[in-house]
Amino acid sequence: MTRAETIPTTPTRERPETPVSTPGRVGESTTRADGVPKVTGEFEYSSDLWMDGMLYGATLRSPHPHANIWSVDTSEAEAVPGIFAVLTHEDVPGRKVCGMEVPDQPVLAWERVRYQGEPIALVAADHPETARRALEKISVEYEVLDPITDAEEAMREDTPKLHLSGNLLRHIHVVHGDVDTAEADVVVEGEYEVGMQDQAFLGPESGLAVPDGRGGVDLYISTQWLHIDRDQVAESLGLEPDQVRLHLSGVGGAFGGREDLSMQIHSCLLALHTGRPVKMMYNREESFYGHVHRHPARMRYEHGATRDGKLVYIKARLVFDGGAYASSSNAVCLNAGTFACGPYDVPNALVDSYMLYTNNPPCGAMRGFGAVQVCFAHEAQMDKLAKALGMDPVELRIKNAIKPGDRFPFGQEVPPPAPVAELLERLKAMPMPEEEDITGRDLRRLPGGVSNVTHGEGVRRGVGYAVGYKNVGFSAGFDDYSTAKVTLSVEGGEPLVRVHTAAAEVGQGIVTLEAQIARTELGVNKIAVLPADTSIDSAGSTSASRQSYVTGAAVKAACEAVREKVFARVREEFGEDPDGLSIEDGNVVAEGHGIVVPLAELLDGEEIGELVKYRHKPTYPLDENGQGDAHVQFAFAAQRAIVEVDEELGLVRVVEVATTQDVGKAMNPQALEGQIEGGIAQGLGLALLEEIQVKEGRIQNASFTDYLLPTILDMPPVKMEILELADPDAPYGLKGVGEPPTIASTPAIVAALRDATGRELNRVPVKPEHIVGISGPTGQPPQPGSRGPAAERA
C-alpha cells in the first residue's frame, strides 16, 4: 500500500471555532457562543469531520458475550476492492490493553471475548459501506462459552474467573461505630434494584485521525478528557506522548460515556497503518456497544432507628455489575460505599460495596457515579422508616440531616457548608402547584399524553421527597489538577485575553465560564477561549462535576498571576501602589483617582502570559475499614416530585419537580438552570423509562426506538430555589452542579409513585407492569420462531 504523498495537517472542516461569548462576568447569564449554531444545525460535531482523501474505519465486534477465539481470518476482507487495511490485535504495536483505572481491556480482542460487541478487528476503506461489507468477510472461529451474567453468581467461589485477578473487581468495606451492639426500636429492611441506564448522548462516538508523516498522529475527537485518551493512545501505539496530539472536536453530549476510549486507538492505528486520515463514526446501534453504561445494582438495606426517629444504624450490602472490563468501576464502587447511607448523621454503619466482573456490557462513569444507585435505595428506606414510625418523611430526614462538624460514615468530617436540613425545609415550604380539575383536560396534561388512554379514569396523585449528595472532583488521593494559560495582549488597539486549557466542553458551558472568569479577573471585555488540545497540560476530566471548580480555579489563578504582573509594571512605571489598583474596561484604575494607564499603552505591543497548574486540597484513600478523608467537596440537592398515575394502566405523568440545591455560587444562572433541568430529565428517565435490557449478556434494545428517553411531554416544569453558601476552599465559593440534580430526582419520583399507588416499587425504571401489580420482569417468554408484534418493528 502506498502512502499518501501530501498530508494536509488539519481537517478541511474545522473544529468548532474559537467561541466568542457575549460579555458577561461571573454570576451573570450569558449567551452561549455555540448555542445558535447548535440549534440551527450548523455546529460542527466530530461526526461532521471531513478531510480530502480520508478513509473510513469500521469495527468488527463479537456477536457473543463470552467465547474463545480460535482464529481470525482476514484474507477475504483484505481482497475487497477499496479496502486499505484490515487489522487485528497483532497490529497493535504497543500495549495491547487499555483502561482508565486498570488496563484490562484488549484494544482488539485475542483468545477470548468477554462481552457482546467487543472489538476484534478493524478495517479502513475508501467508503463507509465498503468498510461495513468487508467486516462481513472477516471470519472468526469462536468457541462459544456460557456467559456469566449475574453479579452474585460471579462472586461465588466456584464460578469460572473472567480475569486472572478473579471476578471481584473491588470491595469497599465501611465500618462506622458498631452496628452489632446498636439497639434500635424500629427496624426496616428493603431490597432495591437499579437497571442499566445509558448516557444516550446524541452525538455518537466519532473522530478523525491524521498521520503527521513523521510517525506521529493528530486525533480530532469528542471526549471528556483529552490527556487520559492521549496517554492510552500513545501507550498502545508505542509512541511518545508528544507524538500523539489530541484536539477536541465538537462533542454531542457525554454524561460519563466518553471517559473511556471508544475508537481513539482504533482510528489512530488505521491512520498510521495506511498513512491516510481515517474517520470513524459509530451509528446509534453501535454506540450502545461502543461505550460503558451506568452500573446495574442490587442493594440490601437495614435501617434501625429510635422510636422518636433518630437513626441508630444502617447496614447496606451493595452489589454492582461492572460488566466485562474495569472502566471506572473502582471509583464507582468507592463512591457507592461512601455515600450509601445518604446525607444523614448515623452513629453506626456497616457498608459492603462489591463490584463484579461479568459478561454483561462494561459499565463505568455516568452522571451521579455510584451515588445515583444508593440514593434510590437509602431514600426508599427513609420513607419506609417514616412510615413505620408514623412520621412525616421530610421531618424524619431533617431530624437526621448531616451538618458541618458531624462525621460521614467513612470518617471524614463534614465540611461547611452542608445545608441538608435547610434544603429540606425550604423545599417543604415551596408552594405546591395548583391542582387542576381532572376532567376536561388537554390530553397532554394526563398520563399517556396524546395517546388518549385516560380522560381522568384511574388517575391518582402522589407526592415524594428525596435528598441526595455526592462528591465534586476526583477522590481518594487522585492527583486532580488542571492547567490554564492566560495571555493578555493588545490586538487592533484593544486588549484581548486568550484562555487556553484542555478542558473538554461537552455541552455544559465551561468555555463560557472560562471567559466569564477572565473578564471578571482582568477587566477586559474581549476574551478568546482557545480550542482545547494536548499542547497544554491536562485539565483533568470533564466529569465528577469538577470542571468549574478545578479548571475554573486554574483560569482564575492564571488571571490573577497576569494581573499581578500588570500591577507590578504599573508600580515600576507610575509608582502606584498595587493594593489600590484594579482593571476596568481595559484600563488600569487606581482607587480614588481614576485611570492610570490603558492596558493597550502599558503593554506596548508585548504580551503577558501565565501558565498555572491548580490543585485542590489533597484527598486520601480509604483504609481497610473504609475510613479516610476521601473526598474534597460535597454537593447536596433535595427534590419533591408530584406525579399523576393511571392506576389501571400504570402510565405516569410527572406534574412537577421542585428542587433546592446549594451551589455555593451561581456562576452562570442560566447555565445552572440548564444543568438542573437536564439532570432531572435524566433522573426521570431512570425512574420511568431508561434501561438497557440485557438478556444472557445480550442487549435487547440498542436503538432509540426501544431505549426510551424522556421527551418534552414527559418532562415537567421545574421549580427551583438556589442556595449560594460559599465553600471557603473553592473558587468564588462555587460547588459542582452537574450531578446532584440527577441523584435525587429518581427516588423523589418513585416515592411519589409509591404515595399514589401504595405499591412497593423497589426497582427502577418502574414499568407500567409494576404499577398495575403484574409481578415478574417478563410474563411469558416469546415463543421460539414466532416473531411477535412489537418485535417486528425496530
Binding site: R132, N283, E285, R444, P447, G448, G449, V450, S451, N452, V453, T454, H455, E457, G458, E648, L649, G650, L651, R653, L688, L689, Q693, Q700, N701, T705, D706, L708, P710, T711, I712, L713, D714, K767, P768, E769, V772, I774, G776, T778, G779, Q780, P781, P782, Q783, S786, R787, G788, P789, A790, A791, E792, R793, A794
Partner: protein, 289 residues
C-alpha cells in the same frame, strides 16, 4: 442502487411491473430506517412522492377514497371530523416530523401489528385498493394484512390507497406507550360505533401477530345495546357490561412479551382501553354526537 422516480401513477405501475424487486418509498420513515440499519439493500427504490394521483382524497358514495400518499398531518387537518379514529390514531404517530412525512399507505405497506393507522381501518371495515398495470382490486384490510409485516400485495402491485366509510357515529383510538409521546404502541385499541347498522367495530393493535378484531366482544356489546334498546333510548351502558366488554377484548388478544412490555400487561391494558373507549364513544353518542 437505482432510484426510479415516476411522475404519474401509470408510470409508477409500469416501473413496478418492470422491476418487481423495486421497493416503493413514500415518507421513507420505515424504508430509510431499514436501509440505515443495513437490513435492506434494495437494487431499486421506487419513489412515489412525485406521483400526484395518490396524494389526494375524495368522497365516493358516502365513503372516502384516500390515496396512499396522504400524510398523517393531512389526515389530522383534513379529515378529523369525517374519520375521527384515524385522525386520533394519526395524532399518536411519532413526532411532527414523522407525521409530516409518514403515510397510511406506508403503514399498510409495512403491515406491522403495531401500525397505528391499522386499527381504525379495521374497526370501520376499510378496504385497501391495490393496483398493477393489469388493473385494480380492493381487499378488506383484515384480509390484506396476513401476518407480522406480511400482506397480500403482489410483487407487481402498488397500494393506491384505502376506502373507508365516513364515520356515522363516535369513534375512538387509544394507544399505550411507556412514554407520553413518540412511542411505538405497546398495545392499542380502536373503536367505531355504527348506529345506523347497529354495529360496533373494534380492533386490537400490537397484541397479536396482526391487528385483530375482537369479534366476540363486538357481538356481546351489540347484544347488550339491542336488548336494552340503548341505540334508541341512548341510555347508559351498565358498568358490568362495560367490564365484560373489556374482558372479552382481553380474551381476543394474543400478545407476546418483549422489550416493550409483557404479554400479561398487554392483555390487561387492551381490556382497560376497550372499556374506556367504549364508555367515551357511548357518552358522545348519548350526547347526540
Amino acid at each position: 442502487m437505482e432510484f426510479l422516480q415516476p411522475a404519474t401513477w401509470r408510470e409508477a405501475l409500469e416501473a413496478k411491473s418492470a422491476h418487481h424487486e423495486a421497493v416503493p418509498i413514500f415518507g421513507g420513515t420505515d424504508v430509510m430506517v431499514e436501509m440505515n440499519f443495513d437490513r435492506r439493500r434494495p437494487g431499486y427504490v421506487l419513489d412515489l412522492t412525485r406521483v400526484p394521483e395518490i396524494q389526494v382524497w375524495e368522497r365516493e358514495n358516502g365513503k372516502f377514497r384516500v390515496g396512499a400518499g396522504v400524510t398523517y398531518t393531512r389526515i389530522i387537518t383534513d379529515l378529523k371530523n369525517e374519520l375521527p379514529a384515524l385522525a386520533m390514531a394519526s395524532r399518536t404517530v411519532g413526532s411532527p416530523q414523522i407525521r409530516n412525512r409518514g403515510t397510511v399507505g406506508g403503514n399498510l405497506g409495512t403491515s406491522s401489528p403495531a401500525g397505528d393507522a391499522l386499527p381504525p381501518l379495521y374497526a370501520s371495515d376499510a378496504e385497501v385498493e391495490l393496483a398493477s398495470v393489469e388493473g385494480i382490486r380492493r381487499v378488506p384490510v383484515g384480509e390484506f394484512v396476513t401476518g407480522p409485516k406480511r400482506n397480500v400485495l403482489r410483487r407487481e402491485e402498488l397500494i393506491w390507497g384505502f376506502i373507508i366509510p365516513e364515520a356515522e357515529g363516535p369513534q375512538q383510538y387509544a394507544k399505550i406507550g411507556t412514554r407520553n409521546a413518540m412511542v411505538i404502541a405497546v398495545c392499542s385499541f380502536g373503536l367505531a360505533l355504527h348506529p345506523a347498522r347497529r354495529k360496533v367495530g373494534t380492533c386490537i393493535g400490537s397484541a397479536a401477530p396482526t391487528p385483530v378484531r375482537a369479534k366476540e366482544a363486538e357481538e356481546f356489546i351489540e347484544g347488550v345495546l339491542a336488548e336494552g334498546d340503548l341505540w334508541e333510548t341512548r341510555g347508559a351502558i351498565s358498568e358490568a357490561a362495560l367490564r365484560r366488554f373489556g374482558e372479552m377484548v382481553e380474551m381476543s388478544a394474543r400478545p407476546i412479551s418483549d422489550v416493550r412490555g409483557t404479554a400479561e400487561y398487554r392483555r390487561r391494558a387492551v381490556g382497560v382501553l376497550a372499556r374506556r373507549t367504549l364508555s367515551w364513544a357511548w357518552a358522545e353518542y348519548r350526547d347526540g354526537r
